[in-house]
């Protein structure tokens, strides 16, 4: 009996030591590395930081959205003056009269919402047609014809000009271009 108790005590001490040593293992001192999430394009453009809105005095706007809207608005100007593309956007220039929402305002909101959602913004929604339906004359009677790769290239080039007018850094322009490239298959429907 005495020998049994001694053996039990020895094993308990041995087991306890093993338990303590494993709990105090050096590995526990190593910090657990949680990978930092990669910022979205929207966050790189300023994200949800609120800044004064130059278009609406006294109001604020998310910095990311302001950056995108500035690029979109500049791009609209470039497209309106580009004979290779402005045929798709002539409604922009339709005079609507004082007090009515202009084609420019409507397209600006539409495209800004689209880019905001596409670049990772979470406080906006895009309620327009999807890119396939929007560029298919069968589902969008306002689409005068099918867009081809040349049209898409020109559109991206005009967006780049719009972004450069707003001093967007080249690396972010590249990300915007990459985002647009993901839409090429949906937009280009000409054989």
């Amino acid at each position: 009996m005495k020998k049994f108790l001694q053996a039990a005590l020895f094993l308990s001490i041995l087991g306890g030591s093993a338990f303590i040593s494993s709990s105090c293992n050096d590995d526990d001192d190593k910090p657990v590395v949680i990978p930092t999430p990669t910022p979205t394009l929207y966050q790189k453009l300023g994200g949800t930081t609120m800044v004064p809105d130059p278009a609406n005095p006294g109001m604020t706007i998310e910095k990311g959205r302001l950056g995108l809207r500035s690029v979109v608005d500049s791009t609209i100007f470039v497209i309106a003056g580009d004979p290779e593309l402005n045929g798709f956007f002539t409604v922009l220039l339709t005079e609507v009269g004082a007090g009515n929402t202009t084609g420019f305002a409507a397209l600006s909101k539409n495209l800004t919402d689209f880019f905001a959602v596409g670049s990772g913004a979470t406080n906006f929604t895009y309620t327009g047609k999807n890119m396939v339906a929007a560029h298919n004359p069968a589902s969008n009677s306002r689409m005068g014809g099918l867009a081809d790769n040349g049209d898409m290239d020109k559109f991206i080039a005009d967006v780049v000009v719009g972004a450069q007018k707003n001093n967007v850094p080249n690396n972010l322009i590249g990300e915007v271009g990459a985002l647009l490239e993901t839409l090429r298959e949906d937009v280009v429907q000409a054989p």
Binding site: F77, P83, T90, V91, L92, A105, A106, L107, M143
Partner: protein
């Protein structure tokens, strides 16, 4: 013709249903319109096509003069094709008045670009002003917003 009580009740019920539906539709249009905020809602884009070559110094001159006209905001000049795009606040001025004022100040041949009905029926954005839905929404907005 004498109508039975039941017929009258059905008639009143139908009338009440349509009136209620109309009221709901009007409230819906008002609520939805209020929730859609357009930045620069009154900024009208317009285009002038120059019918002679314009060099960069002439473009600078044109830009300087047009930006001094009341209501004109940003401009963009496509030098290669001689196309000037400008934005005018429709609450302050009209693009026709801006065009006439600019042309009076510069010695260059130019034409104001006008959107035809055929052009207005196609292209982005989709603003079909001739549709009943657009006209109904516009009327409701003018009354309530």
């Amino acid at each position: 013709m004498k109508l039975s009580k039941n017929t009258k009740r059905v008639g009143v019920g139908l009338l009440a249903f349509f009136v209620l539906s109309f009221v709901v539709l009007v409230i819906h249009v008002v609520m939805v319109s209020k929730s859609i905020k357009y930045d620069n809602a009154s900024l009208q884009l317009a285009r002038i096509d120059f019918k002679q070559p314009i060099d960069s110094s002439q473009a600078r001159e044109i830009n300087t003069k047009i930006r001094k006209i009341d209501g004109v905001g940003n401009t963009h000049f496509n030098l290669k094709d001689g196309i000037l795009i400008y934005a005018v606040d429709s609450k302050k001025n009209s693009d026709q008045a801006v065009y006439e004022k600019l042309i009076a100040q510069v010695p260059y041949k130019a034409e104001r670009f006008l959107v035809t009905e055929e052009m207005a029926a196609k292209g982005c954005p989709a603003m079909d002003k001739s549709s009943f839905a657009y006209q109904f929404s516009n009327t409701v907005n003018k009354i309530f917003n």
